[in-house]
Symmetry: C2
Subunit: 505 residues, 2 copies
């Protein structure tokens, strides 16, 4: 960035990012290390910082600086990077200006408190404890949609925050298609002889928690997550966060009898996110060039590592002997083949984050339908547990035993994230499509994976996805990387091939 | 606080504290968990936040609000709490306004970077790596003294930041007195038969680091540090920090062969600080009523726990059987009497933080003389290692083998803290004096300590010291708690009685 007007703009954007970075650390710390009684004071501070950041962004001073930069853009004197910074910032400004400061502050304070309330309600498995907060959250998110404006559904306004230009109606038909594929496909799996012969608890061997931590860390390092600019900690819900340039953090949770489901595979998932973040150009910290483009694209990066690579046979040809050794003798009696099949055990289940890649999108579809209803005003918050449980019955044939295993399982709504869930399903679609392209462009990719060599694959992702920040729209980015518009066919083909082989039908 | 003008003032003070709290967390995290490569970006952010906080405090807007509150004070309509908030804030404002924003920012950025450089220089034991930073730091601190103004010595201006109203000349004569007492007293100790018979390595038994962590934590909890609003972590240099109301953090370091010197006694020391912080009224967060009065008073709270209580025979009558059990069989062959004597082993040594309570103040005096010289311009930074080593020879008869064990050992100068060291010595004086008062006022205090009951003692400290925040000056606070002005006689009597008994002369 050389243009003086854009330089000035970038300086201001950085100052705002400094506040956001401090707030991000406060948030990370709140979920990882903060003592319990610090919650109230922490909420106030986080609320204040969010408001301050918002005020700085929508201030007259900032607007003047932005307008000077926009004038340069119109004169056509900016280079490509400068133009993107100005264009995206102008879009963000239009959007942000729509929200009053008090609204932003109320949200930040409420959501910080609601998080603690949700943790408690989930621990006690009692939705009624969380109900008053969630009612207020839904009110605020409906209000947010009104502030932003929309054409057909208020839900579109929220969706746009996570997946620019996505629409509820389009997702709805996309998801109906997937439901149509998934329900019979899952029936085929659960009806197979192989499925009947499998032991769903086979991989739940007791493993020392510190060994789980060390093995996960080693694996994630080998994938290419850089611990010189990153960390790994424990928290109730796994997440990835960028504190600021060169400081990226992953968290997961550990359970003695679930090294794969809770620790390792979650960590591979989060490291996929972290590697994306680390691939954003740090020299553009604070500007749209160093920001991720969409949640769907972000999720594609975690899913491509967790599922497409991390649950593939080549990956485990490499890792399994090391895994066996690390947890000796827990897995000594399990062959690679049996391990691989059971790692890809697909079954209807209650908990989204534990769900396999076949049933996962059905969990998302359930949430999408419910939250869309809440935001469009066709469903009531009070009715959520009942509706949730009915859909679980309809889609999975499962009874929900309690709220902790049902409507209270996810952190998202406590943070006001409506419109976020669908991006998980998009992530799966993008991941399959990107991997097909990488396979074509990297000779011997599977061989590399079999040898534990991930550098070229990581570099392919960096060049095609990470380095671009918000340069292109999600659709354009996928098109540039793969030569096609986003489509679900790669994902469906991927599931068909892989699971037909595993379940031998 | 009811007066509307003061309420407005408190609101503004809180907002500034929100920024400071975020910055404090950034700093804590930098020393405890930040990935290495995050340092540069972190420095920038911390510099910006420090400047922002400073700007908010010295802004016209704040001045107007402060002046309205001062007008109320002059009208005589404020209650005692309100009056103190206004008076102390007015003093701070006068002081702060003297520093230009750019100066504050330069300091914050430099000191954050200098910390990393110091860590590296210390690891490599090479003063020359740290020299350029330290030269700039001394320049800035001399400049700070000029901004603040002073009567006789620029060092007084800096001292005032840590111990309000203390003067270099007074300290100098106080310290010369102590030198006069300490040097022959130490000679008496090291000349005694008991000293000759003692094994300075007796307590350096190997202890599992996690057991050290757990035992330290249990001890600190029993003292009364509240972990529902606090934490305990590891860092290269032990410290205590208050993130915000109800969030207080201690750190220490662990070495396998030094559970007492490095982990436990440091932790008891830091917990003394932490208990003071937790005793400041959280409802006054952000105002002078919830701030500590001076570093000397703060240090008295750590010293009273670490030394006066934590190295006393009654304390170990309680703790020693538990300690032996926790680290079984490492200390099984050491009697309580031998343990107690060796825990109070007094000897000339190189490292201040490892020094015993007899020799400790000599370490402080050495630093005081050097840093006073640097700030008054009579010494040059380049000459520090040589001067340091010469004084170590003169006061302790010791050769300094390298910079890491000499001039590079302390973190303080890397953070521009000149005038801080003397408060450690004041802390020792106050601690002895406060304990003598507590002993008179709490019947059976030693008996309580023998039974592991610390609640009444902690409450005595809370009522007499902690709850007052910056209500009284250090001198007045000591007078109110003990009925006397601060004096060194309690400390000298304490050392004489205790060590004459231990060393049998």
């Amino acid at each position: 960035v050389k243009n003086p007007k854009v330089t000035k703009l970038v300086e201001k954007l950085r100052e705002i990012s400094y506040i956001d970075s401090a707030n991000t650390l406060m948030e990370w710390d709140m979920e990882v290390y903060m003592p319990k009684k610090g919650a109230e004071s922490r909420s106030q501070i986080m609320g204040y910082l969010a408001e301050l950041s918002h005020k700085m962004f929508v201030s007259f001073g900032f607007e003047r600086i932005l307008n000077s930069a926009i004038a340069e853009l119109k004169k056509g004197v900016l280079d490509e990077n400068e133009a993107i910074i100005v264009r995206r910032t102008a879009d963000d400004f239009e959007q942000e200006k729509k929200l009053p400061s008090e609204f932003v502050r109320e949200c930040a304070e409420l959501y910080s408190r609601a998080y603690t309330i949700w943790v408690d309600a989930k621990a006690k498995s009692d939705f009624s404890l969380f109900l008053p907060s969630l009612k207020r959250i839904v009110e605020l998110e409906r209000k947010r949609a009104e502030y932003f404006g929309y054409v057909s559904s208020p839900y579109d306004a929220l969706l746009d925050l996570y997946e620019p230009k996505a629409k509820a109606e389009e997702l709805s038909s996309l998801f109906d298609d997937q439901k149509a594929f998934l329900v019979p496909f899952i029936a085929k799996i659960t009806g197979s002889a192989r499925y009947a012969s499998m032991d769903r608890k086979l991989l739940n061997r007791p493993c020392d928690l510190r060994k789980q931590y060390r093995f996960s860390k080693r694996t994630v390092r080998q994938m290419g997550f850089n611990f010189e600019e990153g960390r790994m900690d424990a928290s109730p819900h796994p997440f990835t966060t960028m504190i600021h340039a060169n400081d990226h953090r992953l968290t997961t949770r550990y359970q003695r009898h679930d090294v794969l489901g809770q620790a390792l595979m979650s960590m591979i998932h989060e490291a996929g996110h972290g590697i994306y973040d680390q691939g954003l150009p740090p020299e553009h910290y604070g500007t749209p060039l160093s920001e991720f483009i969409s949640m769907g694209i972000h999720e594609s990066q975690s899913r491509i590592w967790e599922n497409v690579v991390g649950r593939s046979l080549p990956f485990w040809k490499y890792l399994y002997p090391r895994f066996q050794k690390a947890f000796r003798p827990a897995f000594d009696d399990i062959s690679l083949d049996a391990f691989y099949c059971h790692l890809n055990y697909a079954q209807p289940s209650l908990i989204r984050v534990d769900a396999d890649e076949v049933t996962y999108n059905l969990h998302v579809i359930l949430r999408f339908e419910l939250e869309r209803g809440l935001i469009e005003g066709t469903l009531k918050v009070e009715d959520l547990p009942e509706l949730w449980n009915a859909k679980m019955k309809e889609y999975f044939g499962l009874e929900v035993p309690n709220d902790a295993h049902g409507v209270l399982q996810d952190v998202h709504w406590s943070g006001g994230s409506f419109g976020y869930f669908p991006t998980y399903a998009l992530g799966n679609l993008y991941a399959a499509q990107l991997f097909d392209a990488a396979k074509k462009q990297i000779p011997g990719l599977f061989k590399q994976i079999e040898n534990g060599q991930f550098a070229e694959f990581k570099e392919w992702l960096r060049i095609n996805i990470h380095q671009h920040g918000r340069r292109y729209s999600p659709q354009e980015l996928i098109w540039r990387a793969t030569g096609e518009s986003p489509s679900s066919s790669h994902f469906i083909d991927y599931l068909k091939t892989k699971y037909t082989e595993i379940y031998e039908f």
